[in-house]
């Protein structure tokens, strides 16, 4: 535990020192990055060590006399600590070259402060062992990430994003607090472990409330509205941390509540599976429809949260129906996906960050051909895309594979569990296919083909500190994909902390599965290698000519003729028409010599649309109607006093 707090101390120091050094830009960045990354490394080693230790560490401090700040590192906490420290470490490195405007020296320093606070609060939330501690650091986490989101507050979209994020995180916190309040109300103790004695109906209410609250942080549909706004608005290393790890804290919250309540109602699993399916499918459909590269990645995070939730739901269904194998597979699969998603999503955000920085545009349809100028970025982005599409032999597949296996175990169950397992499997399949379409679109349009605009022509990549983290992350994807054993053991450690009542979870049946994956992946790589050799052999001493792309007989092709991302996605989004209504803007062509015209379209998020018309407008209308109270004349004001007295006297 000391090492844990020490690492947090170092991280915070990395946030405060830059504030003092903000006059020396490079020195400030060096100090900040070094300190934060060193702290993260210490924390990472410590949490790996903690993860494989049998006993849990607990520590408690007195707080404001009556309360205590207690922290516990059990398997679950340690499991979530790993990605938090790891991704933050790489994001800190990445920021060194990413934040390179000396004119904004002070703002950069402030961003390091909030960055360090964000890391610290995430780790403290994950280790918090009572309500007060949890809420305290949860709110600090929201607040510090908010400041990071509004880093570029000059842009109006950023301000809108920051506002949405702020309001949603507050509402989410209120929901969580109400769940905690109920817990405290019935148990009378602030600790999580007191929750096990609640009556059953209270447990259900608590779980539902907590799910809604944590779900809004995790970006679960329909509480996700803030996410596609906030993640693109933040600087890219922050997006990487937010999308890579911060939203997982919401998942952690759900799991922690599940552990604390120690109640295995089938309802929990059902809620999670259904929410997961909706988030997964809609998330990826919207991702496909996006034209902004970071927004698209943000929606893809929603999709992956859906996959994780499906896994958790399968685990909970397995738990409630007394199917240990299904439970462990579901939980372990989704924990694995938590880890994997944090790796490839932060990789993709970092890649997108470089692309945006170098080309100055967010729009997918304005880019193209970057693979030639940004080789490393392109390669790593490609690997990340393969991984996030869940393709073997990369890591994205591993988690999904276990979730599938768990889901198939559920097919053998009765009625509702069967239907849900069936739907879970089908939706995982559909999500997989759509994700593939989505990421082929991004890779194909952004990195391949020819540049579609001037800005995409003069891109380069020279900053090593931005490339190294991406290379590290990209290397991890195939490594975990081929040798999932180690991370799977980590996930099992996490699952055993879930208090499922199975005692020690045996490793052997699961290790066999990971062995299978390794073996198959190895065979596959062997085949690929043979094919490469074959190809090399076939091309010996052959004439290779280079020329323009064949235009099917069209002799003057231009880059404008290329297929764009929007047209690529159109047929699929049309298939999901009811939820992906397009907003089109296209002034009609008129007159003999028509002026230049344009066409723009974007898919509107159904939740966002209905949030306005179903919730925001009625609320505003209601409060508008109340405004006559303060109409300026003093006479009714005195009447209010009389009225209050008269009404109250009735009750005397």
């Amino acid at each position: 535990m000391e090492a844990f707090f020490f690492s947090i101390g170092v991280i915070i120091a990395g946030g405060t020192l830059p504030l003092m050094l903000h006059r020396h830009f490079t020195l400030m960045k060096t100090v900040g990055v070094l300190s934060i990354s060193a702290g993260c490394l210490i924390g990472l080693t410590n949490s790996l060590f903690q993860l494989f230790r049998p006993e849990t560490d607990a520590v408690s401090f007195k707080y404001l006399h009556a309360f205590s700040l207690s922290f516990v590192i059990d398997g679950l906490s340690a499991f979530f600590l790993v990605p938090v420290f790891f991704v933050s470490f790489l994001a800190a490195l990445y920021s060194f070259h990413y934040l390179n405007t000396p004119e904004k020296s002070f703002r950069t320093a402030a961003s390091y402060l909030f960055f360090s606070l964000l890391i610290a609060s995430m780790t403290l939330v994950v280790t918090a062992a009572n309500i007060i501690t949890f809420m305290l650091f949860w709110e600090i986490m929201s607040l510090s990430s908010f400041f990071l989101v509004v880093y570029d507050y000059h842009k109006i979209e950023t301000r809108k994003a920051g506002y949405l994020y702020f309001v949603f995180s507050h509402a989410g916190a209120m929901l969580i607090l109400s769940a905690f309040g109920l817990m405290y109300g019935f148990s009378g103790s602030f600790g999580f472990d007191g929750a096990a004695i609640l009556p059953e109906w209270v447990k259900i209410v608590v779980f539902v409330l907590a799910f809604a609250g944590f779900g809004s942080k995790a970006g679960v549909f329909p509480f996700h509205v803030w996410l596609p706004h906030a993640h693109p608005a933040a600087p890219s290393h922050i997006s990487a941390v937010m999308s890579g790890v911060m939203i997982k804290i919401g998942i952690y919250g759900i799991l922690r509540m599940y552990v604390a309540l120690n109640y295995h109602a089938p309802l929990f699993g059902e809620i999670l599976v259904i929410a997961g399916m909706i988030s997964g499918i809609l998330g990826v459909v919207y991702a496909l429809a996006q034209q902004d590269i970071k927004r698209m990645l943000a929606y893809s995070s929603i999709e992956n949260m859906g996959i994780i939730l499906i896994g958790l739901g399968i685990g909970m269904i397995g738990m409630s129906s007394g199917n240990p194998l299904m439970a462990v597979l579901g939980f372990a699969g989704s924990l694995l996906h938590v880890l994997n998603h944090s790796i490839f999503k932060s990789l993709l955000f970092m890649g997108a960050g470089i692309v945006i920085k170098k080309t100055g545009t967010h729009s997918i349809d304005a880019l193209g051909g970057l693979m030639k100028k940004m080789r490393i970025t392109g390669m790593t982005f490609l690997i990340g895309s393969l991984a996030i599409s869940g393709l073997p032999p990369l890591n994205g597949f591993v988690g999904e594979f276990f979730i599938y296996l768990g889901g198939f175990k559920g097919v053998g169950l009765d009625k509702l569990s069967f239907v849900l397992s069936l739907m879970a499997i089908i939706s995982l399949a559909v999500i997989g296919g759509l994700a593939l379409a989505c990421f082929t679109k991004v890779v194909g349009v952004v990195f391949q083909g020819e540049p579609r605009s001037e800005s995409a022509v003069k891109a380069d990549e020279k900053e090593p500190m931005m490339l190294i983290p991406m290379v590290v992350l990209a290397a991890l994807c195939p490594i975990i994909g081929v040798f999932p054993k180690a991370v799977f053991l980590m996930a099992i450690r996490g699952v055993s902390a879930l208090n499922l009542g199975y005692g020690r979870i045996p490793f052997s049946p699961f290790l066999e599965m990971t062995e299978n994956i390794s073996q198959a992946a190895a065979v596959f790589l062997l085949i690929v290698f043979c094919m490469l050799a074959l190809r090399f052999f076939l091309y010996r001493q052959k004439t290779i000519t280079r020329t323009g792309t064949w235009g099917c007989g069209f002799t003057r092709p231009t880059v404008k003729m290329q297929y764009t991302g929007s047209s690529y996605a159109r047929s699929i989004t049309d298939f999901f028409k009811p939820v992906t209504a397009l907003n089109e803007d296209h002034p009609a062509v008129q007159g003999v010599f028509p002026a230049k015209t344009y066409y723009s379209s974007h898919a509107r998020d159904i939740a966002e649309r209905y949030m306005e018309s179903v919730f925001v407008h009625p609320v505003l209308f209601f409060f508008d109607k109340l405004r006559w109270i303060q109409q300026g004349d003093i006479h009714p004001y005195i009447g209010y006093i009389l009225l209050a007295i008269v009404i109250l006297l009735f009750f005397v």
């Binding site: 693979m371 393709l391 995982l428 759509l434 064949w550």
Partner: protein, 306 residues
Amino acid sequence: MIESIILWILAICLSPFYAAVILKVKAFFGGKKGPPLLIHYFTLIKLMQKGSVYSNSTTFIFKMGPIASLSAALMALLFLPIAGRSPVLSFNGDVIFVLYVLGLGRFFTIAAAMDTASPFEGMGAAREAFFPIICEATMFMILILFFQLTGELTFAAYFTGIQTSGLWRVAGAPMLFVVMAFFIILLTENSRVPVDDPATHLELTMIHEVMVLDHSGPDFGLIELGAFIKLLFYSTFVARLICPIHAAHPFVNFVIFCAALSGVYVAIGVTESVMARFRMDRVSHFVLTSFALAFFATVITLEFVK
């Protein structure tokens, strides 16, 4: 094991031959003599001997495309019980692995197409990305059914030995739906009429062929080979399902299997001859039909089993 590997190699070698059966059937319906049954071998050899022309727009991904798609097809075949013999590789959940490996092949095919900056190839890529989504859903629906029937998640459990006839025994008539669903998947995944027309010359209406417009020489050869293997892979399902007979002697078995396979290819050829290809926006409905069939099969069977 050795036997399985021999069968695997045999299947690879036979795949171009069977693809030519389709051409022969189509020629028969067209009242023509048609190309020889070994035409695809000639084409492959010819292609392998040539050099290549690459577009200036392309990168290494363009060259990765053929390799990835061929490797994926080869990998998939490794898990497939050919002629009812146990496959080379098999483990719990290999069906999922295979489907996703095929996805990897598709990813690279699409990426290679996008690499050329050609509008037509982009169009094909978009379609290639779209239709298989529904196919995968159907495949998983069928898998759920098979899992319910056998309790296993391997191809070996479905198509080895007497297992297949076991499926028929338990599920009965609904199995016909599954066969039809499989056939539709086969047509879609392998870009056959009525989803796609490999013989057309109008790039705007093509899916798979248009994606490989810029590939040439050995690269194109590898793609072709991959396509043949993939076709064989799906045809094997259908063949085993319509002809689940398992004889004691492996050779007899193999002959029966080959005959069934020929039947499937003839059926493809007949379909191609008597049907016109769909309008692009109707294709998704057609593919959805397969999902509906699989869904009904599952629901009916489960009622039946209970």
